[in-house]
Structures are given as C-alpha cells and as structure tokens.
C-alpha cells in the first residue's frame, strides 16, 4: 500500500514510530544520566500516542487502555522512579564518556537493516496497515540490547532493558493490535516490578562494590584461580 494512499492518521502513526526509533538512537549516543531518562520518557510518550492512533485508525478500542497504561507506566512512573533513584544515588550529574559514538550509531543503523530483513517473512502475512512498523519495533528491541551491551553504568543498562521492553510491547501493538488484556496487564505488572527491583539493586550494588560501574562486578570467574 503506497504511503500517499493511507489516511493521514496512518501516516502520522508511521511518523511517530520513526520518531520513537530516533529516540532509541538518541539514547545510544547520550552519556549523561538525566537526558537519558528523559529521552526514555519521550519514547514512552511517542509509543503511547502511536498506540492511541492505531486504536483510532483500526477501531480496536481496547488499545486505548493499552495506550493509557503505556503512558502512565512507561512515560511517567518508571522515568520518575529512575529520576528519584538517580538523585538519591547522586549520579544525576554523571557523564559516561562513550568511546566511539559515530561507530555506535552506524552499528545501530546496521541493526535496523538486520531487523527489517528478519521481519520480512512476518510482514508478508500481515494485512494491517501497520505491518511495516514491525521492523521498527524489532529495531527498538535490538537497539535497547545494543545500549545494554555498550554501557558500563548500571543505570544505563537498566534503561536499555526498559527500552527493550518498550520495543516488545510496541511489537505486540503493531503486529497483533495488542495482546489479550490480561496478558498485557501481566506484562505491565512484571515491568513495573522489574523497575522497582532494579532500584533496590542499585542500592545493594552501591553498598557492596561502592560504585555503579558494572565492570567492577568481576569477582565471579569461570575458572576460579
């Protein structure tokens, strides 16, 4: 279906999905903690708005509930939790120098191409107008993983993890117009509990190794000396 033939709302869905992908890239290149958290919050907002638009376009009204859930949980509650954690751990002004940001961004672009290739067989079968966004949602998942791999600070790794969950939820929204409500509630609950547990973890980590640098967690070795 050519872009020009889709309704304006459909096009808006595509634009917002592309902007959510852009936020993933922005997180890859961002070293400071607070802008990272805010960018994650904006990703949540973009995804919530996209979900609501998809609900409007396709008429699946239960997606409105998903949109509200995403907004409340991923755009407001979890960024607020992380912000509070950052302040309490006193890392809000910390800047983690990123080794080769341009290389990282190019690797991210390569992941986008890869996820497009992987999602081609699925895209062929979807009859929906949002089927092309499956590749975008998978890219968000892969970029979240890239963020986790390339960072040393625990807080950035957690944001990568949350961004991955964002992408997965989004994949559910665009490929199948959301999952049955009970499953979505279960997933949202799990994500919330995970965020809270991460918070508890940061304090334990700080108390035991005196920093949030994950590279320092290296006492357990495969072959003990």
């Amino acid at each position: 279906m050519e872009l020009a033939q889709l309704s304006l709302f459909n096009q808006a869905v595509l634009v917002l999905a592309a902007l959510a992908l852009l936020t993933s890239f922005l997180m890859l290149a961002q070293g400071r903690k607070l802008p990272l958290i805010y960018t994650y919050g904006w990703q949540g907002v973009l995804l919530a708005v996209t979900t609501a638009l998809v609900a409007y376009v396709t008429g699946h009204t239960h997606l409105y509930i998903s949109a509200v859930l995403t907004l409340a949980l991923k755009a407001l509650l979890i960024p607020w939790l992380l912000h509070r954690l950052a302040v309490r751990l006193n890392v809000q002004r910390e800047n983690e120098p990123i080794a080769y940001p341009s290389l990282l961004l190019l690797a991210g672009a390569a992941l986008v191409v890869f996820s497009y290739y992987v999602s081609l067989p699925i895209v062929q079968f979807a009859a929906s107008a949002t089927r092309n966004i499956i590749a975008v949602s998978m890219s968000i998942v892969l970029l979240g993983m890239l963020l986790m791999i390339t960072r040393r600070r625990a807080m950035a790794q957690v944001i990568g993890f949350m961004s991955m969950e964002n992408g997965l939820f989004f994949a559910g929204v665009v490929s199948t117009y959301g999952m049955p409500m009970i499953v979505e509630l279960g997933i949202a609950f799990d994500v919330l509990v995970a965020a809270i547990l991460f918070g508890v973890f940061f304090f334990q980590m700080r108390a035991s190794i005196d920093s949030l640098d994950v590279d320092r967690l290296n006492r357990l070795r495969e072959v003990d000396e």
Binding site: M148, Q157, I182
Partner: protein, 488 residues
C-alpha cells in the same frame, strides 16, 4: 476443581502472610505447613485428574493434563522437602551470617512467591500468562540470590537479572509472534493464546512465522533452562544464593522452563511437519551436555560444580525431547522427575556439608563421612545417583535416552557416552576427597534433618528398580500427548 484453586491460592496467601511474620522463629514452621498443604492439595488434584481426565477451569484459564499434573506434584513435593530443610538451615544462617529480620521476611515470602509463580506457570492454559509467570519467577528470586549482600552475591544476582531478563524478553517476542500466527486462524481473539485451542488448530498455523517464533522462544526459555551458551547466570546464581534457593532453582525452575519449551514445541511440531524444532533442541541440548561436562572438572566451589551437573542434565533432557520419539520422550519425562528429586537432595546435603566445613570451596571440605556420617553418606549416594549408576532412576532414564539415540541417530551415542563418562569422572574426582579425606581440626557435626534427603533418594532408587504402575501410566499418557505414540 477446588484442588486446583487451592493449590494456587495457598502459596499466594503464603506470600502475604509471610511478608508480615517471616522474621519470627515460627516462620520456618509456617513455611513448612504452607508447603505441606500445597503438597496435599496437589496430590488431591492428581487423584482428580487420574480419575476424571484432563481438567479445564471454567474460564479456560487453567489446564491440567497428563503432562503437567505430575510436574505439579513434583514441584510441591520438592518445595515441601526443601522447606523442611530450610527451617533449621536458615536459623543457623541467621546466627552465623547475621541476616536481619527484614531479610528473613523477604526470604520466606519470596519462597512462597516463587512457588506460586512455578505452579501458575505449570497450570496456566494461556501462553501469555505462562510468560508472565516465568518472568515473575525470575523477579521473585533475584533478591534472594543476593540475600547475603556480599559483592559476589550482588554480582551473581545482577547477572541473573540481566541475562534472564533479556532472555525472557526474547521469549516475549516469540509469544507475540505466536499470537500473530494464531490470530489469523482462530476466530475469537482472546482464545488465540489458549494452549488447548492452539493445539487443536496447530496444523493451520503459518510455518514460517512459527519457525521464527520458536527460535525466539527457544532462546528465551532456553536461557532459563540453562542451555549453553545462554547458561552464564546459572552457576553464579545457584552458588551464591542460600542453599534452599539453589535446591529449588536447580530442582524446579529448570524443569518448569523445559516444560514451557516442550509445550511450545508441541505447537510448532503440529504446524511445521518437519522436525526443525526437534533438531534445534537436540543441537543445543548436546552442546550443553558436552560443555557442562567439561567445565565440571575445573570448578573449585562445590555448589558451582553441582550446578554444572544441572546444566548437563538439562542439556540431556532437552536433547531427548528434541529426538522426539516415544522412547526418548518417556526417558526425558522420567529424567525430569528423578533429576529434580536427586538434585534437590544433593543441594540440601551440600548445604549441610558447607555448614560443617564453614566454606563452599571444595579443597577445604574434607572427611565428611567421619564428622557426620549421614551427610557423608547422603552426598555419596546422591552423587552416585546423579552420575547414573544403576539401580538408581537416573540410570534407567539415561539408558532409555541412549537406546532412543541408538535407534534414530546412532553416531550421536558416542558423544553422549563420552559426555557421561567425563561428567562421572569430574564428579567423583571432586567428591572422593570431600567425603573420605582427612578430617580437618575442629570440624563438628551440625544439626541436620537428613530424613527428606534419604526419602528422596529412596524414591529415586524405587523409580530405578520398579516404576509404580500409576506413575508409569502417567508417563505413558504424557508421552502419547507429546510424541504421539506410546513406548510401552
């Protein structure tokens, strides 16, 4: 029906109850009572299913058939014996390592929380809720792994959280893809994630999408099973957490993860008419089996060594489920049972051994049989059982798997036998000095209730010599369900 609800509600109530009173001396007893009642209701449930056949709850949320009913009983049994062990063990730990009241409340309530998520994963009919429960199991136990708050424990818990979290996220993607394929075939949207509905229409599901979904689900649930190369969290989490945690993680979580994988495999096999899913499982299973056997030799920590043994056995089970025929499936089901019983018994004994020696390092544990004969004998018999000696049950299941391999993949029996031999050598090389070595100065016996251990090892022996009729019937029904025909 009531049995089913009670089996789920008792642990749920236990979470709340123990969150408030978990720090009292009596908390250990409350835990035992809760686990005991769960075990009784699970037996009742098993009898109901045995008489009445497959059970589906009114809202079709819960589903008990031949495959998961005995796993439910097994889970409840192991949780009961571990709770009995945990009571005096944790009291000792509270005194020696100064665990605060808050941590004991966390420990006890999360023990029941873990049970609840395990039972929910086993009894649910909804593939999405299966995912939610598996993730819930990770979340319930992650704070328990770091209970002792040492740097090593925090590191192990972080690795566990991140690796299992990322892995489970892949499984979520696989579930979404499964729903995607199902939704096009099943008219009622909310039914498209129900396992019994999916199983009925498995042949109509789109093969390419299901292949992709299975790959993601294999990676996701395979991380929780401990398949190489996704196993890195396992030795750390099992060795740094308190011993009751190691027992239930090794004995139960790995089983339930494998159960989830096999459930999904049943759907995929119905859709793709080739054995791609089986081949993938065989590949990963064999890899885990061989790698774990080799790593076993280099370990210096007793719990890490036995957790590599868990990886090895889970690899063997995955391999057997991958082969797929009735003989291999029967063997795998039997192996799930005996491994769970033996491994939890071993970890219980290892916990006492570590308490006696005051450390988990293998080099420092010596002369157990002199200091406390019950612990020494328990460890010896347990290791003999897990290494696959006749007449224990592990020998029977491994023999069945080997026969199945020889029938369909003759040249694969060589790596299997080599792996078994390597693991055997590794286990005994480390075990012998621990049990029979020279007793160090000042080593005293500890208060230990070895009755559950002996009971579990006796059950494994019984299963090796003569499988009781009702159990054999169950395994047969489950094998027919999974593999399509009976081995007997």
């Amino acid at each position: 029906m009531t049995a089913l609800w009670l089996t789920l509600l008792i642990p749920l109530a236990g979470i709340l109850l123990l969150a408030f009173v978990g720090h009292l001396r009596a908390a250990g007893w409350i835990n035992v009572v809760l686990s005991g009642s769960t075990f009784i209701t699970s037996l009742w449930l098993a009898l109901t299913v045995f008489d009445g056949g497959t059970l589906i709850s009114p809202g079709r949320m819960l589903y008990i058939d031949a495959f998961n009913v005995y796993l439910v009983v097994l889970t409840a049994l192991v949780s009961l014996t571990t709770a009995i062990f945990s009571r005096p063990y944790m009291r000792h730990e509270v005194e020696t390592r100064r665990l605060s009241g808050r941590r004991m409340r966390l420990y006890h309530s999360m023990y029941q929380g873990f049970m609840f998520t395990m039972l929910a994963a086993l009894t649910t009919n909804n593939v999405g809720i299966l995912w939610v429960s598996m993730e819930g199991a990770t979340l319930a136990t992650v704070l328990l792994v770091s209970l002792y708050r040492t740097p090593e424990a925090v590191e192990a818990a972080w690795k566990y959280f991140i690796l299992c979290g990322v892995g489970i996220a892949q499984a979520l993607f696989g579930t979404v893809l499964l729903f995607f394929a199902a939704e096009r075939v099943i008219p009622v949207r909310d039914d498209a994630l129900l396992w019994n509905v999916l199983y009925g229409s498995a042949s109509q599901l789109e093969p390419t999408v299901l292949t992709l979904a299975f790959v993601f689900l294999l990676v996701g649930y395979g991380t929780k099973v401990g398949l190489v190369p996704l196993h890195n969290w396992l030795p750390d989490a099992h060795s740094e957490g308190p011993t009751p945690m190691s027992a239930i993680l090794s004995g139960l979580l790995l089983n339930v993860a494998l159960y989830s994988l096999v459930r999904v495999k049943m759907l995929v096999d119905g859709s793709l008419q080739n054995n791609l899913a089986g081949h993938l499982m065989m590949g990963f299973g064999l890899l885990s089996f061989m790698v774990a056997g080799l790593f076993l030799h280099r370990q210096r920590d007793i719990k890490r060594m036995y957790s590599y043994s868990s990886i090895e056995h889970m690899g063997l089970m995955t391999f057997a489920f991958g082969i797929g025929g009735p003989l291999a499936t029967f063997g795998a089901l039997l192996h799930m049972t005996v491994h769970s019983l033996t491994k939890s018994a071993i970890f219980v004994t290892v916990g006492h051994a570590a308490q006696i020696a005051g450390t988990q390092t293998i080099d420092k544990i010596r002369g157990l049989i002199m200091t406390q004969p019950s612990v020494g004998w328990g460890l010896l018999i347990g290791t003999v059982a897990i290494a696959g000696f006749p007449p224990f049950g592990v020998f029977v299941s491994e023999f069945l798997v080997l026969s199945a391999t020889m029938k369909s993949w003759p040249w694969l029996t060589v790596p299997l036998l080599v792996g078994l031999a390597i693991a055997f050598a590794g286990l005994f090389r480390h075990l012998h000095p621990m049990v029979y070595g020279e007793v160090p100065e000042g080593q005293k016996p500890v208060r230990a209730n070895m009755l559950p251990v002996m009971l579990q090892l006796a059950m494994v022996l019984w299963l090796g010599i003569a499988i009781p009729v009702f159990l054999a019937k169950w395994f047969e029904q489950a094998t027919i369900l999974i593999a399509g025909s009976s081995p007997l």
